[in-house]
């Protein structure tokens, strides 16, 4: 029994964090709201060069041939940095399916989703997991753009996508639960960042002659956020382990992770805004970039209630 990551896994995470600190500062996230494709540019390329985009692609296929356990901490870091990219769709869902050097290195991008597909306009391939059509399509004939509350998430509904090949049920299921795991990890990373910047703010901001972080009401709000993160992260890591080891309960473990991570990140966003007050309520402050990512990812690929219902089924209806 050992519930901890290896030094290699932690070193990979640290390298990705350092890369994102450099290539994906808040200015890059903000720019993605207004640039052409809503993406980071340099950060994506650098992640590709590092191999982070081909973590789950077989070595024979040009990837690193690693497991969900190696990918989960990287997803958490992309959440912490609010990286504006289809990281989960590409790394955890699409690339292992389409494979190939280009996707393993990020030279080409694959996205995923159903009915709405993020970044479909700049992707080279689209994996659709909708229950009616499990298809891996080339980029679509016609794209209808939809506005996400997160301006960097370019959403599209798709028409006349040219199917490249059908996916097997097991491909679909593996891809789906890997995707949910990825978003759960990103939510944990987003929550960490929201807590960190709020701690700095309430320590510096003074009202009534004292730092507002010295007032018990704010202390307890932030303590609750810390508790929520502390007890959701292990569920996410366990879910990664279960997927990596084909645990029969893996899907339930992923649902537990998404429900807990979505609730933790939602709480972190709520308290972060309340602690920042009017200063954080302006779109000139970076806070909203992280909050809106949380709102989007908490709702996508099944919200907390939906995943809790999956857990209830596995717990109560098992015979």
């Amino acid at each position: 029994m050992r519930f901890a990551f290896t030094d290699d896994q932690l070193a990979f995470r640290d390298a990705v964090r350092a890369l994102l600190d450099k290539e994906c500062p808040p200015a890059v996230v903000r720019a993605a709201w207004t640039n052409a494709d809503g993406r980071s540019g340099a950060a994506w390329t650098a992640l590709g060069e590092m191999g982070a985009l081909g973590v789950l692609v077989a070595e024979a296929d040009g990837g690193l041939g690693l497991s969900e356990l190696d990918a989960v901490l990287l997803a958490e870091e992309t959440g912490r940095a609010a990286l504006p990219e289809p990281f989960v769709e590409h790394v955890l869902v699409g690339a292992p399916i389409v494979g190939g050097e280009d996707y393993a290195t990020g030279a080409a991008t694959v996205t995923a989703g159903d009915p709405l597909v993020p970044y479909a306009d700049s992707a080279d391939a689209i994996v659709r997991l909708g229950h009616d059509s499990f298809r891996c399509a080339a980029t679509a004939a016609s794209l209808d753009s939809r506005q996400s509350v997160d301006g960097s998430r370019r959403l599209f509904s798709i028409d006349g996508a040219e199917p490249r090949r059908a996916l097997t049920r097991s491909e679909v299921s593996t891809a789906y639960w890997r995707g949910v795991l990825g978003f759960s990890a990103q939510l944990v990373g987003l929550a960490h960042h929201l807590l960190d910047v709020t701690i700095v703010y309430v320590t510096d901001r003074r009202q009534f002659g004292a730092p507002i972080g010295s007032f018990q009401a704010l202390k307890h709000k932030l303590a609750d956020v810390r508790i929520a993160i502390e007890f959701s992260a292990p569920l996410v890591y366990r879910a990664a382990y279960s997927l990596a080891h084909a645990d029969p309960e893996a899907a339930v473990h992923v649902s537990m992770a998404k429900a807990a991570a979505a609730d933790a990140a939602t709480l972190a966003a709520r308290h972060a805004l309340q602690c920042h007050g009017a200063i954080g309520y302006s779109d000139e402050h970076d806070l909203h970039l992280w909050m809106k990512r949380v709102w989007a990812l908490a709702a996508t690929w099944g919200d907390a209630d939906w995943h809790r219902d999956r857990v209830a089924r596995a717990t109560l209806d098992r015979t």
């Binding site: 509350v149 959403l155 009017a278 309520y281 779109d283």
Partner: protein, 379 residues
Amino acid sequence: MDLSWSDSEAAFRAEARDWLAANVPDPPLASGDTREGFAAHLEWEHRLFDARWAVVSWPEAYGGRAASLWEWLIFEEEYYRAGAPQRVTQNGIFLLAPTLFEFGTPAQQERFLSRMASGEETWCQGWSEPDAGSDLAAIASRAVHDAANGGWRLSGQKTWTTRGAFCTHLFGLFRSDPDAERHRGLTYLLVPLDSPGITVRGFGRLDGDEGFAEVFFDNVFVPDDLVLGEVDEGWKVAMATTGSERGLTLRSPGRFLATTNRLVELARTRSADDPLVRQRIAQARIDAEAYQLHTLATVTRITDGEPPGAESSLTKVFWSELDVRLHETALGILGAEAELDDSAWMKGWQFALSGPIYAGTNEIQRNVIAERVLGLPRK
């Protein structure tokens, strides 16, 4: 106890409902917190004023109907039920006006009230400063008396001024006695925003609309007759305004009853049989009607001549957190679609999140409840 409406009140409701049915713009106007939308909303305010619906509770002399508080509640219910436009004149007619009626000179009332009601002049609130948010008494913007010219010289900065970039006037607090501490030595001034030395910079709120503004004052001259109330007594005058802001006028029950009804419609079309949603909908209706009934009790007390007190803090916490829950429930029903910005609920959610922050954060309000309503020790 009598929870029925009189014939005249019923007639008033019918008249309001008919007029709104015939006049509420469809499709809805663009957000009043954008430059274009603001202009469209001013047009709407002119129509309201011409039909004497702009300020129903005011004296007829200023364009009102001298309506009772009951009739005002009825009008608000009908206004929100009809899905009528936001009131971009709200900071004037709901926040400043009660103070003008109470503290203004006859000349000031003549000068400002009708133009405020018609939307010819629009008012923003100049209270918060970069270092005076929750701690309003930390206001540092200066007002120095200029005896030679019979007025005041303003300098400093206000911020988070709602619709400040679109308004013609600002009412605000300025420190007139630099030696006085905190709540003392402040003066309440009425400031035309076209006065020389004023710079206004609009900026975006959470939802991206340019609903906020910074207002910079560089030796701005304001004549003596634009002081509201006594010099150095601005805090007392301002508190009368926060009283009304937190209490009745800004958030009438009709607003949350209408949101609840929209929520019920949403649930019926989407997930009327999801028991989680059903419980939340039931709680939404319970809370919205509790707020309505609480308001009826308050209006009854006011009608009996009792003033509303620190209870306004109870009200502010309740409606602001109710509004958040109502929108949370709607977003939960929308599921993955909640993320889509074109849903009115996502925009409403972002606005609802400002409720626990402005007009005194809910942390401040809970302190007030604990200390002034419950009598708990300050230290």
